[in-house]
């Protein structure tokens, strides 16, 4: 455990050194937040002040929480592991006296912790000042929200890891990353709340782990659903964590078996 802790904190410190990159990320994240909020506000205003359960204040909260979660969840995917697989460096990772997935998960948690504080909170604060936020009435929402957020980050890590591990079998995984990102951004409820989807698309979204990555933590944290309503959704998140953890583990084992590293 101390190993993973020091990896996580090293990863946190590594990211905290890039101050200019963080400031740039906050700026861009905020501009995109304003663009997204404008589109949703226009739709809600045309609908007469409320659209499928979302008022202006709730839509603002939804957008700013989404912008805050974008960085820690790394919704645009990572490429590090797939590149290490292609270059054979993954052999070094496998030799380390720590579990492969555990190692990368610790890194991800450290990184996400920084990204949440450094890149997530500032746009949320700016959003709160400019458009206002709807905050939950029940303090329990914050506690459940924190759990939901951790589960979401874990899920995003596992799914992204599976996309990366496909590099054991595919020569080029960029196309797969692009497809994954596009599907994830839509079905997770990042672009628009999944409740606005037509029934067929809502059905598809709910059959995937994607809403558990963004829609569930946002709904829980914003208090749009009560803690009692949030509990079953947290259960769904936990279920997906289990499924994806087993799947990622299996993929790694199969991949390692088929791997052949040349030279040395």
């Amino acid at each position: 455990m101390p190993t993973y802790w020091s990896i996580a904190s090293a990863s946190f410190r590594q990211y905290s050194t890039y101050r200019m990159a963080t400031a740039a990320g906050v700026f861009t994240n905020t501009i995109f937040g304003f663009i997204r909020a404008s589109i949703l506000f226009a739709a809600i205003t045309t609908a007469g002040g409320e659209l499928s359960g979302y008022t202006i204040a709730q839509a603002a909260t939804y957008v700013w929480l989404g912008q805050a979660l974008l960085a820690p969840i790394e919704a645009f995917g990572t490429r590090e592991v797939s590149q290490r697989v292609h270059q054979g460096e993954v052999a070094v990772d496998l030799l380390r006296p720590a579990s492969f997935l555990g190692l990368y998960y610790a890194q991800k948690l450290g990184r996400s912790a920084f990204l949440l504080l450094g890149r997530g909170i500032p746009p949320l604060v700016i959003g709160a000042l400019v458009t206002g936020l709807a905050l939950p009435e029940d303090p329990l929402s914050y506690l459940l929200g924190a759990f939901s957020l951790l589960a979401a980050i874990t899920l995003a890590f596992l799914a992204d890891m599976m996309v990366n591990l496909a590099a054991f079998w595919l020569i080029e995984t960029r196309g797969l990353t692009v497809v994954y990102t596009a599907v994830m951004n839509l079905l997770s409820g990042f672009l628009i709340p999944i409740l606005w989807f037509p029934d067929w698309l809502l059905g598809i979204a709910r059959a995937t782990p994607f809403p558990s990555m963004i829609q569930t933590p946002i709904d829980t944290l914003s208090g749009r659903i009560t803690p009692l309503e949030a509990l079953p959704l947290l259960g769904v998140q936990a279920g997906w964590v289990l499924v994806l953890a087993v799947a990622a583990h299996l993929m790694l084992r199969l991949g390692v078996r088929s791997m052949e590293v040349q030279g040395g």
Binding site: Y18, R19, M20, A21, A23, A24, G25, F27, T28, I31, F32, F34, I35, S38, I39, L40, F41, A42, A43, T46, A47, L51, S52, I171, E172, R174, G175, L176, V178, V179, T181, A182, V183, N185, L186, L191, I192, W196, F197, P198, L201
Partner: protein, 294 residues
């Protein structure tokens, strides 16, 4: 590069300036020829990885699809967005995607300048007798972006038909000119984004607000934005002039405050102005650059 006696691989790291020492008289190659040679070599090299090219292009199509789905889902809930119906929004989206796709394909890679600065590879480019901007923009040209261009074009043409476009010679000219002017404007934005990296090496993402953010705004009906934002994205970063304003003219719609429908003709002048700024910024960036040596 067919005239070269020595076959070359087209790996991105390979120097590709034609030089025939035996005959110095034809060494200064015209810029147009250089542009053609550089871009053609990149296109050939990328098209040779067929599976990768196909899967990447399909990925691009999917991204465009999900982006438009966002607008489509909203318009399945409300009848108009920013005063526009679904076919009208589709014209804006298709036109914007087409313009961004062309601009991104030709200039999108300037965005990667900071990695050249950090790794010191910029020095290698600077000593070659080819304009830096041309080298960078052609070096990693991404043919896969053709996916966005194809979908954008199809959507633009189809949506114009459904939205009841009444062509006159003037309007037809605008319909053809608008995506090209938009592409030129996006090219200028990408160049500005690249130039900024001479100052903000780690601040690459900063410029995304104007390039990708500009694309987001351009593919959205401009009337949805509150006045300060509308003013910013019309007068400072003229993103609403790329697709929204021309669509107002093409479909004969009234414009909202700050964007009268005649602004639809301002895409090209705006592109020229932004290019002047981008060019100046790029030049002072290159002058400011000092290599780390080595």
């Amino acid at each position: 590069m067919a005239e070269n006696s020595r076959p070359r691989s087209s790996a991105p790291s390979d120097p590709s300036t034609p030089s025939r020492r035996s005959d110095p008289s034809d060494r200064p190659v015209s810029t147009a020829r250089m542009v053609w040679t550089l871009y053609a070599s990149r296109i050939r090299s990328q098209a040779s990885f067929r599976t990768s090219f196909v899967s990447d292009s399909l990925g691009q199509v999917l991204i465009v699809g999900t982006e438009f789905l966002e607008l489509w889902v909203i318009l399945s809930q409300v009848s108009t967005l920013g005063g526009m119906t679904l076919p009208q929004v589709a014209v804006v989206y298709g036109l914007g995607a087409l313009a961004f796709g062309i601009g991104d394909m030709l200039f999108g890679e300037i965005d990667g300048l900071s990695s050249y600065i950090k790794s010191g590879r910029l020095e290698t480019l600077l000593i070659r007798p080819v304009p830096l901007l041309l080298q960078i923009s052609s070096l990693d040209l991404s043919l896969r972006r053709i996916g966005r261009i194809v979908v954008g074009l199809a959507m633009y043409v189809t949506a114009l038909g459904i939205a009841g476009f009444q062509p006159t010679p003037m309007l037809l000219m605008l319909a053809v000119l608008a995506p090209l002017a938009g592409a030129v404007l996006f090219g200028a934005l990408f160049t500005m984004a690249g130039a900024l990296q001479f100052w903000l090496v780690d601040g690459r993402e900063f410029a995304n607000a104007f390039t990708y953010g500009g694309n987001y705004v351009a593919t959205t009906p401009g009337a949805v934005f509150a006045l300060p934002m509308r003013a910013f994205f019309t007068f400072v970063i003229p993103a609403t002039l790329i697709a929204y304003a021309p669509t107002l003219v093409l479909l004969d719609l009234p414009g909202p405050a700050l964007i009268p429908s005649w602004a639809g003709w301002l895409g090209l002048p705006a592109a020229v102005l932004v290019w002047i700024v981008a060019g100046l910024l790029w030049r002072s960036g290159v002058r400011r650059y000092t290599g780390a040596g080595g």
